[in-house]
């Protein structure tokens, strides 16, 4: 390879230092990352879909028990958490917009706000789980159900803890991802020409929000 050729390649990449070696340009890098994240989310949809299918089957089998059991869930706390997650989705969307516009300070604050709302959600979830524990509504040998249909109600509580538990685990992982994003944002790694990680982390955060949008009516209301 001649020196002249090396120089041309260096110049071509000089103005786009954030474009990884294997990509032709920033656009291709962006589209590849976006597609990859959506493929991952597709597997996540199928993962949660399996649990929703289980819920559907048991609900069809024991409609009455499920109706009685859902009266024991704490609807105000569930509704509050729904609002908290939607607000966190808004701040996450605004974080992406801030990165696109190059507003570094606003980006950092939006990430911090998103994390605070995420933590608030988990805090409320902890209160709910404690409440269930004290009422002996956790499936297992200590499960106590005063009204009729204890066996069927226990199935609903298995589903409740499996579904909200997996969702909460996704929130915890989400907070970890957001911590990484916050550090990267504080280092000033994002700019209007490179904000892919902010957008991709946002996609994950919004997906977790969507799961809750379905969990709230299914487990707390109907």
């Amino acid at each position: 390879m001649s020196d002249a050729h090396v120089a041309t390649v260096d110049q071509a990449h000089a103005h786009e230092a954030h474009v990884a070696h294997q990509f032709v340009n920033a656009r291709q890098q962006y589209e590849s990352g976006n597609l990859g994240m959506w493929l991952f989310l597709q597997t996540e949809i199928m993962f949660f879909g399996g649990m929703f299918a289980a819920y559907g089957v048991y609900r069809a089998w024991y409609p009455e028990a499920f109706k009685i059991a859902s009266t024991a869930t704490n609807v105000p706390l569930g509704a509050f958490n729904t609002v908290v997650l939607i607000v966190s989705s808004l701040t996450m969307a605004l974080a992406v917009q801030s990165a696109q516009l190059g507003k570094q300070k606003r980006l950092v604050w939006m990430i911090i706000l998103t994390m605070l709302f995420g933590a608030a959600f988990l805090g409320v979830k902890a209160i709910e789980y404690t409440e269930k524990w004290h009422h002996h509504h956790v499936p297992g040998p200590n499960f106590i159900w005063e009204k009729e249909g204890g066996r069927e109600v226990q199935i609903l509580y298995c589903l409740y803890f499996a579904m909200t538990g997996m969702h909460a685990l996704h929130m915890v992982i989400g907070l970890g991802i957001m911590t990484w994003l916050l550090i990267a944002a504080l280092k000033g790694r994002f700019s209007p020409s490179y904000y892919n990680p902010v957008e991709i982390c946002g996609l994950y955060w919004h997906f977790v929000d969507i799961v809750w949008i379905f969990l709230f009516p299914l487990l707390y209301l109907i």
Partner: protein, 107 residues
């Protein structure tokens, strides 16, 4: 790299719509519609999810390959839910005592 930048106004409008839908879900739940309680609650949830996907997740302005992936996700989820419910719904059609151990040919 140029990408679509959604104005704050649009985000706030979507946020407001999501909030109204949440209140609506709660309100409909307080009225007894029988089976339609489930239909309405899930209908609102699907609408909310599509708002989040379209605007918050920028699918409206995403690359075409991502859009196709989203569409395929919905189809896959449909297959999962539909085939599972078909299986469980049709199980009652077969009498219980004609399991494999009581199958005439094996006797």
């Amino acid at each position: 790299m140029e990408g679509h930048i959604t104005p704050t106004k649009t985000y706030l409008a979507v946020f407001f719509a999501l909030m109204v839908c949440t209140v609506l879900t709660y309100y409909v739940w307080t009225i007894d519609l029988g089976f339609f309680n489930v239909v309405v609650a899930l209908g609102i949830a699907v609408f909310k999810a599509s708002l989040v996907v379209t605007y918050f997740m920028h699918v409206k302005w995403s690359p075409i390959l991502s859009k196709i992936t989203v569409a395929i996700s919905v189809i896959f989820l449909g297959i999962l839910l539909l085939l599972t419910s078909m299986d469980y719904a049709s199980r009652q059609w077969v009498p219980r005592n004609v399991g494999w151990e009581n199958y005439p040919v094996l006797k």
